[in-house]
């Protein structure tokens, strides 16, 4: 009997220590959405249950292995205890009740995280493709950045062009697959201003790891300023402006950088035009109109050193569009 009491006390001590210890580490990223609150509430209960159950099994086993271990010279078997039906029933029924309670809490927190607080929420269309995210805003422009005003519920209507992707902003907690051939919805209420990233959470091909895009939560005023800027850019009538719009809408900037620092999966466009490009076979070629056109329409023909050409799928553009894109690339230096 004394052993049971000691083990009982040890279990509680150990469970509390585990819970405190686990919580002293930053387990979750910052809570940046209202949806994260019920999810983290649920998570906390999970951690409590894990800590307790871990202690409940581990402590008696360790205790028994140390205290009741075979003493020197003892060759007899242990006590013949075959089982205990009331005990078995107890540890079937009690966990069953707990499990049902947890499932209920799970359903409740799921409901909370899906609560509709704004029936007229802004709808942003999301296009996912290998390997970029593109957003179409209700104000009539597209961007490769997701800008959201804080404390406003937003619905993302998401569609995939090629394969399955998954929209996940760790700070928002919620994740939703983006499936070709259907529109999936993602309802979110950002509640903390900051710069985050959407990270594709479903393996989508060679450069899946780099399918990330900026998500910026800002005050309504900053958001409005940004929208105004974007509308201005989108309505630009210059070739560079149209080119910029084209490459944004087609997701090119998901891989190709426009700064001197190239991305991990595709060459940078900064200062590209007119430069010497080294190909995989060691030869060099001048990045002129012909080369860029060919690389857009059939990327596999000339393999740039260090990058796999099969990563990029061939695109189709009209001659005018190609000219606009090249004009935009020319402007990057």
């Amino acid at each position: 009997m004394i052993h049971i009491v000691v083990v009982g006390i040890l279990v509680i001590v150990f469970a509390v220590l585990t819970y405190v210890g686990v919580n002293s580490v930053d387990l979750m990223p910052v809570q940046a959405s209202a949806q994260a609150v019920p999810i983290d509430w649920m998570w906390n209960w999970q951690v409590i249950a894990i800590s307790f159950l871990f202690a409940l099994i581990m402590v008696p086993i360790f205790y028994s292995m140390i205290v009741f271990r075979r003493k020197k010279g003892d060759t007899s078997d242990a006590e013949h205890i075959e089982g205990n039906t009331p005990l078995e029933i107890a540890w079937t029924v009690v966990p069953l009740i707990i499990v049902v309670a947890f499932a209920y809490m799970g359903a409740y927190s799921l409901g909370e995280s899906r609560r509709i607080t704004d029936t007229n929420a802004m709808v942003v269309k999301v296009k996912a493709q290998q390997f970029s995210w593109t957003y179409e805003y209700p104000q009539g422009f597209a961007s490769s950045e997701l800008h959201l005003p804080v404390w406003k519920q937003v619905i993302l209507k998401m569609e995939a062009v090629d394969v399955i992707h998954s929209f996940w902003v760790p700070e928002f907690r919620v994740k939703q697959d983006v499936v070709p051939g259907r529109v999936t919805e993602y309802r979110i209420t950002p509640m903390l201003e900051g710069a985050y990233k959407v990270r594709c959470a479903e393996l989508c091909g060679s450069n899946h790891a780099f399918m990330e895009g900026p998500v910026i939560v800002s005050s309504q005023a900053d958001y409005d300023t940004w929208v105004a800027e974007q509308i201005e850019i989108a309505s630009a009538a210059t070739p560079e402006g149209r080119g910029r719009k084209l490459v944004t809408e087609n997701g090119c900037l998901g891989c190709h950088s426009i700064t001197p620092q190239p991305g991990p999966s595709a060459p940078s466009w900064f200062g590209l035009f007119g430069s010497q490009v080294t190909l995989a076979d060691g030869s060099t070629v001048t990045a002129d109109e012909a080369f860029i056109t060919e690389s857009i329409l059939d990327p596999a023909v000339k393999e740039v050193e260090g990058y796999s050409p099969t990563v990029m799928k061939p695109f189709t553009f009209t001659t005018e569009e190609l000219a606009d894109i090249i004009a935009y690339i020319k402007s990057l230096k």
């Binding site: 979750m28 998570w43 086993i61 075979r70 079937t92 499990v99 939703q176």
Partner: protein, 617 residues
Amino acid sequence: MKKIYSIPLIRGIVWQVVGLLVGIGIVVGIRAAMGLQATGPFLVTEHAWVFGGFLGTLTFLVGHGVMGDWFKWWRGEITSDHHEDKPGWEKYFGPSLDHKVIGIQYTVTALIVMIVGGTFALIFRTELAFEGMQFLKPAQYNTLMSMHGIVMIVVILLGIGGMMNYLVPLLVGAHDMAFPRLNSFAFWIVVPAAVWLLSSMALGGIETGWTGYPPLSANMNLVGQQTFFLAVFIVGWSSVLGGLNLIATVVRMRAKGMTAFRMPIFVWASIATSLIALTATQLIGLSFQMVMFQRLFGMGFFDPVKGGNPVLFQHLFWFYSHPAVYVFILPGLGIVSELLPVFARKPLFGYKWIAMSSLGIALVGFLVWAHHMFTSGMNEYLRVPFMYSTLLVAVPTGVKFFSWTATIWKGKIDTPVPTPMLFTVGAVFVFLLGGLTGPPNATVSTDLHLHDTYWIVGHFHDTMFGGFMFPFFAALYYWFPKATGRRMNETLGKIHFWLMTPSFFVMTLGMMYIGLNGMRRRIADYDPAMGFQPTHFVLTIAGFLIALSVLVFFINLITSLRNGEVAKGNVWNSRSPEWQVESPMPAHNYEHPFEVVGEPYDYGLAGSKYVEFAKHK
């Protein structure tokens, strides 16, 4: 040369290559004659590779000779059931009918393939130790990661095949499995499958993970994708036939007096496993076959442009692949239940409850598949029912844990703890961690965050190590004397355990930690801004320490085969029938059949016996 060719394995592989080439030739010939394109990015089109692979598998089996007796039956000949193996090592390369030989074939193949799968892990783990791509391209990373997954799954299937084949006939007192030829066949079809699986690395690789979700797996212009599907399809058949054989053996070939609740507990676990393997496996076969056909013939099952549904694949796939994890763990948990009483010198606490919990896990396991798809865009109203059914699995699993704890409680365990017991207790702890990290994934709301992160990677490595690896090692240390008549080295065994267990805990806890913080699964590189690099470095070190511990195990295994301490008797003082006869086990198992006269785990009950051997044959 002739001598080498006379080894069935070599002959089979030669025939396999010939079959592949003939198959490719036929398809290229037909396509050329029909005026279709016959060449492709991998020399010839996928059609040729797939047909060649299919034909090569058949020619392997014919050349190897594993179907020899069947061909004789078809010709109306009668073959002897009393098949004598040649002494020595050669029988391990041929179509033996002895379940013990087949069990060892499975086990050794599992260990060899484990080295391959582990090496893949070490390669990409090293790549992940630092930010940025160091020596792999993303596509190569994806291939290695996918191969690690599927190769390790094959290892587990082979490992449980080894344990079940070797042990179950011995435990139920049968002279062999119910269908010895089918048994041999089920093992040998894995060999050509393994060849196709590994060759997919040379045919462009697989970039979809082992789950092979379309449309990605259907769009990837890589022949490796097809050979991967073909290989999994064939391994699936091995699993189906193995399960069939095992159920028939247990139902029909038990010793006299062995009623259902007097069977050793491992037999219960094997039955539960085999029921899943027998039925659900067909659906991963079907789903992969449908993707293969989509690629080959343009059948648009999962292509939305043609009216297909990518989510359907996930339903079919997980209908097997979730119960499959119970296939992977139930035999291991059976080993734990089998060994604990022996070392605690106490009866297995609540035998019937543990037996029923295995069946319970298997049956509930059929109703939980969609918890892998909470974020997939499937019908949303399905999510909550699947959460309930998934969480229900915790109840029978809990019964196991509580019963194990009660078995150990007041048990007289030797100090120092013998190696098999170390691994058994290790299995309990590791699987406990794996089990407890499961409910957060089963709960829809928390799963929205956890799905497809490194948390999941940590979770399932815990379940797989606790449910398979640790028990597998325990079983190897425990039954090694039975198979060889020698013991494995205890010191090396303890080094193995104490190197592997802490490293493993560091590795999976580290994975869970960064996973919670936003590290996704299956990514070749991670955002430097997230600050995961130090953790990844530690994980890589831990990974190498695990590899080192497994190296120690292999050294132990090989040296003990020759120089281990001779042990012919009942090494662990077990009540189980196989330990009542001299080791190594004779070719046709028990010379005198036994009758069950008591309970299997009545340790501590003076004068009680589990089995009694007949005086005469």
